[in-house]
Amino acid sequence: MRTSVIVTALGPDSHGLLAAVATTVAAQNANVDDVSQTVANGLFTMIMFVSFDETETTMVALKDALEATGERVGLQINVQHENIFKFMHRI
């Protein structure tokens, strides 16, 4: 079964942040479906739509890997199933 999650990353800007996150996603056999990022006043904000096959990785493994990357590069990274975003704002 394919699972879609939304990865958000926030933190002070520096070189290679998007690459670090994308590399971690790829290493987990997950796919980047869409991504947007901005830098404002030195603050890096990224939203990445990621999907994966549950036979290839799990939510927990992806989360652990991305959180470890976040710690290494100085970003606060959240991984959440897309349904919480779909559900919260609309009926």
Binding site: I6, T8, L10, S36, T45, I47, M59, V60, K63, Q76, N78, V79, Q80, H81, E82, N83, I84, F85, K86, F87, M88, H89, R90, I91
Partner: protein, 454 residues
């Protein structure tokens, strides 16, 4: 396909990471209708086995959902058919034995609390009710996770003043027995008027007679989110403020709806209700009092507090009912003094009195909640305070509850530290005028007229 904007995504993340949005409790209601009997040993074993069988996966499922959606689920609980309806014994010791079985089952499956050591006596006592009330003191002071509630009043039956007085005695006894832990036993006892049958919040949760075999009820939270929304709009008029709170409550409730749907499916239970309550934990920044202060009050307890709370409570319900068709429980803003740091401070500063809290009870959820009173309070005075809260619920056809903590050996101004989500609070003063003759009359205050409602 549902379109999600970047702003909505970042708002959701911010609500959880910066504003303490969480799901306060996932509570599984379990019917014990097939566990009854008169032999306490057999009933205790049947009840223990059913709790473990039906709720054994509750903590695991809640943890799984917490990981999936990145939202904390703070408490996992079980509510039960009132034990007085299950154990048909007139021996208090039998109820104490069952309470220990409940405690053991709760520990075995890793939940925070189990509720339902309860009875409904608004019109009178059965022998089982009477024995259960007799057993509450020993049962609650001798267990860690068991919660007790007794419904002593309703709009249709009036107030059973004999039951009110007996509960005053129970509270004084539990206060003394748990004095070494700042009387924490009293935090696990609620006296109700119009008790809801599907409430997910402790200490008052029970699984009513109209409920299904097994249900999942979810209590939302999020005072911090509402407070930030209010604080960031200092220019808003009260109408605009109400709309803002409605929109925020909608979003908070949608999260509860998502968790309730998924948890009930995973646990093979019927989806119960979403309790549209703003429940404060003791953390600074996550407080009902701070919402009211952000609305423009210098400190909670100032003139206008009841009006501000009425606006907040109504807007939360309006926003919440748009977000789910399964509302229930207590649904409203809570004002537990010890669990709300800013409220406890206002009480210590002398700005917030018991009388003001009583007025606030008339426009919000629950009632005099987690309020510490002097340890030497008389039985009549304590019964009088409880009766006043019950009267507000009875006349206004709403649920009210009293969770009062007589602080054994302490007096006005001393602090009581209950720990964890129970928080800490100062001992508050109660009028010293006597009411002994009124309370001593006993009997029942009749049910009120439902017309001529001025």
């Amino acid at each position: 396909m549902v379109f999600i904007t970047e702003q909505e995504i970042l708002e959701t993340v911010s609500m959880i990471r910066s504003e303490n949005l969480d799901v306060r409790a996932v509570t599984m209601g379990i019917s014990l209708s097939d566990c009854g009997g008169r032999d306490p040993g057999k009933v205790a074993e049947r009840v223990r086995a059913k709790i473990v069988q039906r709720a054994g996966r509750l903590v695991g499922v809640a943890d799984e959902l917490e990981h999936k959606y990145g939202i904390p689920i703070v408490n996992k609980r079980v509510s039960l058919t009132p034990i007085a309806h299950v154990l048909g014994s007139d021996d208090p010791a039998a109820y104490v034995e069952v309470a220990h079985a409940l405690d053991a089952a709760a520990e075995e499956i890793g939940i925070d609390f189990v509720g339902g050591f309860s009875c409904l006596v608004q019109k009178g006592f059965t022998r089982a009710d009477s024995a259960l009330i007799e057993a509450i003191s020993e049962a609650i002071s001798g267990t860690r996770r068991v919660c007790s509630s007794v419904n002593v009043a309703s709009t249709r039956a009036g107030i059973n003043m004999d039951a009110v007085v007996r509960m005053a005695d129970v509270l004084k006894s539990v206060s003394q027995k748990t004095a070494a832990e700042d009387c924490i036993g009293c935090a696990k006892i609620v006296v109700f008027c119009n008790v809801p049958e599907d409430n997910p919040f402790m200490a008052g949760a029970l699984h009513g007679s109209g409920e299904p075999e097994v249900s999942v009820n979810v209590a939302i939270s999020g005072p911090g989110v509402v407070r930030n929304a209010v604080a960031s709009h200092p220019e808003a008029s009260l109408i605009e403020l109400a709309d803002l709170i409605k929109r925020t409550a909608f979003k908070i409730t949608r999260v509860g709806e998502l968790v309730a749907r998924e948890a009930s499916q995973m646990l093979g239970a019927q989806m119960g209700i979403i309790d549209l309550s703003l429940a404060p934990p003791p953390a600074v920044g996550d407080s009902i009092a701070e919402i009211l202060e952000s609305m423009g009050l210098g400190q909670v307890g100032a003139p206008g507090t009841t009006a501000a709370l009425a606006l907040l409570n109504d807007a939360v319900k309006k926003g919440g009912t748009m977000a789910t068709s399964s509302t229930g429980g207590l649904s409203g803003a809570f004002i537990p003094v010890s669990e709300d740091a800013a409220m406890a401070k206002a009480a210590a500063d002398g700005v917030l009195s018991i009388e003001k809290l009583e007025a606030m009870t008339a426009v919000c959820s629950l009632g005099l909640d987690m309020i510490v009173v002097p340890g030497d309070i008389s039985r009549s005075a304590l019964a009088g305070v409880i009766a006043d809260v019950m009267a507000i619920g009875m006349i206004n056809a709403k649920t009210t509850g009293a969770r009062l903590i007589p602080a054994y050996g302490k007096t006005v101004g001393d602090w009581v530290t209950l720990g964890g989500l129970f928080g800490e609070a100062p001992v508050m003063g109660v009028s010293s005028a006597t009411n002994d003759a009124f309370v001593a009359r006993g009997g029942r205050i009749p049910a009120p007229l439902q017309s001529l409602t001025n």
